[in-house]
């Protein structure tokens, strides 16, 4: 394992220190416990938005703190959910009095820690609602699993809910918008090569020279199946098909197409995947009216990508287009 790190135990803190030094106009860092808030404190009368989760998925979530998106982000240790005593003060710091929406990716650890923090913040008279993101169609959502994982679709939920909060919607409305996005976004990912968590020191899984892992999670959790290496077009189809099917997309609908890199894949390859996914969607009569391509929800240096499709309506389209000023998304 070769990494640009000092003591792995300090990786999260040192990285956040660098991040907040670069983006001091956007964010402030609290240490002990660790969380990131929007510079200048919560916006009066605006619903606060908080998300968080294990580190190693940068720019998620701290890269999305700023105007039009999150008010606070709570980074855990590498691939480990943050603790209630980090989340609670972040929730409270994000509350200007209009209440707070917590956006939680559906992992047992994230769910439990946020649940406890929300209870604690509630004890302190903060109104907090929660929306779970569970967009990963690779996992069957059934009694036999912890439910679908939250993956790249989280970006869409944070952006669109952030815009709703920014235009002054109240907590119930922001929560409903976030839930609508969560309900209408689906994702599936592939890994070509694994990643190594610094303190573990060896890759999270092994892949043969001619194998890929279809349906990978963002922590390197094995996916649906091992498959032989294939062309970008073939792999894209294997990602897109279950997404389209699960969403029940039909002719004439309009979508956001989001191709997300896992961290170690060249941008140029992501565009090749996008090209195929877009032409397939258009072939189905689906209009790709908004797009995002890049490394937004990563798994350290994992090689691979995910394809997300969000069914858009007029309101969510407008909210997607609304201005955003964060380290990682800006328009």
């Amino acid at each position: 394992m070769k990494k640009l790190l000092n003591d792995p135990q300090n990786a999260v803190t040192e990285s956040l220190e660098g991040f907040t030094a670069v983006h001091a106009d956007l964010v402030e860092l609290s240490l002990d416990p660790t969380y990131v808030t929007r510079a200048g404190g919560p916006v009066p009368n605006k619903v606060g938005l908080v998300s968080g989760g294990g580190s190693g998925h940068e720019p998620l979530h701290a890269g999305f703190v700023g105007d039009g998106m999150l008010d606070a982000a709570v980074p855990g240790e590498m691939f480990t959910s943050p603790t209630p005593d980090q989340i609670q003060p972040a929730l409270e710091a994000a509350d200007s009095g209009a209440g707070v929406l917590a956006i939680v990716k559906n992992y047992t650890g994230d769910v439990l820690n946020f649940e406890m923090a929300v209870e604690l913040a509630g004890d302190d008279d903060h109104r907090v609602t929660t929306v779970l993101v569970n967009d990963d169609v690779a996992v069957e959502d059934s009694l036999y699993t912890a439910g679908r994982r939250g993956v790249a679709g989280t970006v869409a939920v944070e952006k669109i809910a952030g815009a709703a909060a920014a235009r002054g919607d109240d907590l119930e409305t922001v929560t409903a918008v976030a839930q609508r996005v969560a309900d209408n976004v689906r994702t599936m990912g592939v890994a070509l090569a694994p990643c190594t968590v610094p303190h573990v020191g060896r890759p999270g899984f092994e892949l043969g020279d001619d194998e890929i892992e279809i349906g990978i999670g963002i922590h390197g959790e094995p996916g649906r199946r091992r498959a032989p290496v294939a062309t970008a077009d073939e792999i894209t189809d294997q990602l897109l098909d279950p997404v389209v099917e699960d969403l029940g997309l039909t002719d004439g609908e309009s979508v956001l197409l989001f191709v997300n890199g896992m961290g170690g894949t060249p941008l140029s390859e992501l565009y090749v995947v996008y090209r195929r996914a877009r032409s397939r969607l258009e072939g189905l009569g689906v209009s790709v009216s908004r797009s995002l391509v890049g490394n937004y929800v990563t798994s350290l240096e994992m090689q691979g990508a995910s394809v997300s499709v969000l069914r858009l309506d007029d309101e969510t389209t407008q909210l997607w287009d609304a201005p955003v000023r964060t380290a990682a998304l800006h328009w």
Binding site: E77, Q86, T108, G109, T145, A146, V197, H199, R202, G217
Partner: protein
């Protein structure tokens, strides 16, 4: 005697055991989860020991020690196991607000821990989680107490049952937690959380021995 100094020894032995088994727990988690369970618990228990060292005066009740573990794990571990173990120790602490434990208090401790885990995680036995170890331990403890065993003996029976419970998870297919994403592929390797539960209860028994 299962008194406050036993509880303190228990903590220290647990921290030591978790430190030694860190790589093994991580490897179990790497196979069916995300490879951080050893690191998570090690970080947590090291913090527990630090706080214990700084503690002055000594706690009066066994429950005070367990509560310190609970709050520390909650604030240092994260992941699924942080809230689960945190809530487990918290409930166990509530059941042990006494200077030393008799047989029924040991049962209450283990059952409290089990209640905490299931209240938080909503898992039932057979889903390949730490519940499988805690449930086995609670059942064995209750049976032993019913048979009139001593506090130490109840603890010993609970620990043995937890180890067996952890071992039983090897063949299970996970339906809770991160391992559930693997479906059938989760069978064949023991659950990391059940394994760490067995380690914790084993340390409780060894803490008795060391105090003699």
């Amino acid at each position: 005697m299962l008194d406050v100094s036993w509880a303190v020894r228990w903590v220290r032995l647990t921290a030591e055991a978790v430190g030694l088994a860190k790589a093994e727990l991580t490897e179990l988690d790497r196979r069916i989860g995300d490879g951080d369970h050893g690191e998570n618990l090690d970080r947590g228990y090291r913090a527990v020991v630090e706080r214990l060292d700084a503690l002055d005066p000594e706690p009066e009740n066994v429950g005070d020690v367990l509560k310190l573990i609970a709050t520390t794990l909650m604030s240092k571990v994260g992941g699924a196991s942080g809230p689960l173990y945190g809530t487990a120790y918290l409930r166990a602490a509530k059941a042990t607000a006494v200077p030393s434990l008799d047989a029924s208090a040991v049962v209450a401790l283990v059952e409290g821990a089990l209640d905490g885990v299931t209240a938080r995680g909503k898992a039932v036995p057979g889903e390949k989680t730490m519940v499988d170890a805690w449930q086995a331990a609670a059942d064995a403890a209750a049976a032993a107490a019913h048979e009139g065993a001593s506090a130490e003996e109840v603890l010993r029976r609970a620990s043995t049952a937890a180890t067996a419970g952890a071992a039983s998870t090897t063949s299970m297919v996970a339906t809770k937690g991160r391992a559930s994403y693997l479906g059938d592929r989760s069978a064949g390797s023991a659950d990391p959380g059940a394994t760490s539960t067995a380690l914790i209860l084993d340390a409780a028994v060894r803490a008795v021995g060391e105090g003699r």
